[in-house]
């Protein structure tokens, strides 16, 4: 690792539609921000989109015209960020577009998201990237960044014009949905990172091991006679890419870990000083392949739901910090495509609107994960990309999620902001409802039933 430092390209961009800066007083919420160390009941005053004051409950008064949010008994967190969503634009706007996808994000408490480039056409040249940024400036309710492909057309052969894409503001490079099959191409991408910068976000899967698999290979797949994807399909690629990143001194971010072996591989690589970060999804943290026994396509995604042992390893990784962040891998699909037999239905589930509540319900309330740790991991996802880390501190831009942790709701009951309905938690009653999301200084979401007064 004796290379010259990375060259400086322009920083990654987040784009959003213009909106009025918030002026609001949040009264008496329990504020938890593990980064700034805040954990207690406070008033939060937002002025001109910035956090102007943090004071004892009842100590702050609202300036004329400011919204007053009575938040006693509610929680206020730094709003969440998601480094891994699919907005299906361009190409499948029937499944999601920038407007609906960012509305879903806001409804889930997210103040910034990053979209994957596996669209039609693939985001593999600057013109596609620019047009997406332009559309985001017209439509996005929360700031959204766009990644570009590592290889042209995600074919795994020739590198994209990474320097130009970085200059235009690509948030990262990824062939997500597909692995970079060739070790040689992966090495070249890591070498080229010294010119273009940007982390390489990697979907880890060895195609010759996954073959035609559609679920985790194990006891459940053996009983169902459905082709399986073994855990080693993921973990061997994690090991390969950690070794390559170590050799080239490159930075990588492993997407959606699903297997114990992969967590162990990342842990070992981190111990060796490899510049690697990784994410886990809410569904892998809460569900297992037992859910697939019914062959319900709402449980079909890639990587697949694995065993309880794998799930425990992911939870432990999230707790210990081996897993840096939660990412939803929000993957909308048309209803008619999911209403197919399991083996032919597309992979992927939506997640933005249920991530927080699912993790609160299945991990925090049963005592497997501290609430503060969950907040930390749900706000850390853009750090590997060199983008914002939301925080509740005086003078910081207002990125706040106000949630009611006593509220229960049935998923799907009131519909979704997303255009698609393929949610793995559909029909489940979850605890924890996002009521208000302030993103980049503007109110991006307000739960329908939640009234807000205006100071006079």
């Amino acid at each position: 690792m004796n290379q010259a430092p990375e060259a400086q390209t322009r920083p990654p961009r987040l784009d959003r539609a213009p909106a009025k800066p918030a002026n609001a007083l949040i009264r008496g919420a329990k504020v938890i921000d593990p980064r700034s160390g805040v954990d207690g009941n406070h008033d939060l005053l937002i002025r001109g989109g910035e956090i102007a004051e943090i004071g004892a409950p009842g100590s702050l008064s609202a300036p004329d015209g400011a919204e007053v949010i009575e938040a006693e008994g509610l929680h206020a967190f730094p709003a969440f960020v998601d480094p891994h969503v699919h907005l299906r634009t361009p190409g499948r706007e029937d499944e999601e577009d920038i407007d609906s996808g960012t509305r879903a994000a806001a409804a889930g408490g997210f103040c910034a998201i990053v979209a994957m480039p596996n669209t039609d056409p693939v985001v593999d040249d600057a013109s596609v990237l620019r047009s997406l940024q332009e559309r985001a400036r017209a439509q996005a309710r929360v700031p959204v960044g766009f990644t570009a492909a590592i290889t042209r057309g995600q074919q795994g052969e020739d590198l994209t014009e990474m320097w130009e894409l970085a200059e235009v503001g690509a948030a990262a490079f990824t062939d997500d949905g597909l692995p970079v099959r060739s070790a040689g191409v992966m090495r070249q991408a890591l070498q080229y990172q010294r010119l273009a910068g940007r982390v390489l976000a990697l979907h880890e899967e060895e195609p010759s091991l996954s073959r035609k698999g559609v679920m985790h290979e194990g006891v459940v797949s053996a009983g169902l006679g459905v082709a399986g994807i073994p855990s080693v399909s993921e973990s061997t690629m994690v090991q390969r890419d950690c070794a390559l990143a170590r050799f080239e001194g490159g930075r990588i971010h492993i997407q959606h870990l699903s297997a114990r072996e992969s967590v162990e591989a990342v842990e070992a690589a981190k111990a060796q000083g490899v510049l690697v970060t990784c994410e886990a999804s809410p569904h892998h943290l809460t569900l297992t392949d037992e859910a697939v026994r019914t062959l319900d396509t709402s449980f079909k995604m890639n990587p697949p739901l694995r065993t309880e042992d794998d799930r425990q390893a992911l939870i432990e990784g999230l707790r210990s910090g081996v897993i840096d962040c939660v990412a939803t891998d929000h993957a909308p699909h048309a209803r008619e495509e999911k209403e197919e037999v399991f083996e032919t239905a597309p992979m992927g589930v939506t997640g933005l609107e249920t991530a927080f509540a699912a993790l609160v319900t299945d991990l925090v309330l049963p005592g497997h994960l501290k609430l503060a740790t969950l907040v930390e991991r749900m706000t850390a996802g853009l750090e590997p990309l060199g983008l914002l880390v939301p925080t509740i501190a005086k003078g910081a831009p207002a990125n706040i999620c106000l949630a009611d942790l006593r509220a229960t709701w049935e998923v799907g009951d009131a519909g979704y902001e997303s255009r698609s309905v393929n949610n793995a938690f559909a029909g489940r009653t979850l605890t924890g409802r996002v009521l208000v999301t302030v993103a980049d200084g503007t109110v991006a979401y307000r739960e329908r039933s939640f009234a807000i007064g205006v100071a006079r």
């Binding site: 290979e217 006891v219 009983g223 169902l224 006679g225 399986g228 399991f342």
Partner: protein
Amino acid sequence: MKHLLSIEDVSREDIERLLARAESFAEVSGRTIKKVPALRGRTVVNLFYEASTRTSSSFELAAKRLSADVINVKSSGSSVEKGESLKDTIQTLSAYDPSAIVIRSPHAGAAAMIARWTPASVVNAGDGKHEHPTQALLDLYTLRRRIGTLEGVKLWIVGDVLHSRVARSNILAFTKMGCEVTVCGPPTLIPRGIDQLGCDVRFSLDGIEQADVIYALRMQRERMEGAFVPSLREYAACFQIDGRRLRPHQLLMHPGPVNRGVELSAEAIDSPQALITQQVESGVVVRMAVLFEVLSGGGADAPEGELASHPTRDREPDPAPMGGAA
């Protein structure tokens, strides 16, 4: 029993009842006029998304012998070829108000899925590599007819277990009936975790002399493409059941169609221990029993009046005043 979707969700009692019913229908099959009016006026749809000879023809024959009206729909030459989704096909066929839909699909879970979309009873005639419950039932029936009880019988299932719906249904069915099941085949064709279904696993024929019954699976030539076995020659050398490996005290079964010279030698197929043609024969009566069960079970669904015409008591079919298909 409203549907027959898998062996996994039927009990030993259900199986006993179905086998007993099949016995009673066997008597009908021995007559010159092999027909009873049990399902007269009811419609059975056979929906086959995969090539099939014995399963589709025996379901058709079974339905006709119960005097049901039968519609056969095959994927080739139908709206399926025009890109109609499974859901739309089922809703279309359901508009004809069939009593039962028999479905063969290349995909696991297809039968269970359509059971949610249609008011008709659904019978799984094979869903991908998942299950083939009527095959398992006819195998139980055939073997029980031959040897009386299945309790404690040692059954070896030999071959490509990974890609076999017959293997999965039979592991479950034979263990439910008290058999000791061993699966045996090349390690590349035995799925991880299959032992959790309640069987032993072997990777060679060593010890097969302990088996009472050898059940050979079809070794599909297309598996050669996936490099699951180096050659059919080597497969045959290691796993073919031939005259030397088939002991005189052992019985031999196979779901058909057989690859002569691959999983079985000609000598074994033609040996007196082979039950292969009896299996085919059993297919009709067992499928009659299944159709009768799903269409007569559950009270409100019972075909009024006609339940009385139990085949063992009804020596000759009714003259069919309503014009039952003949």
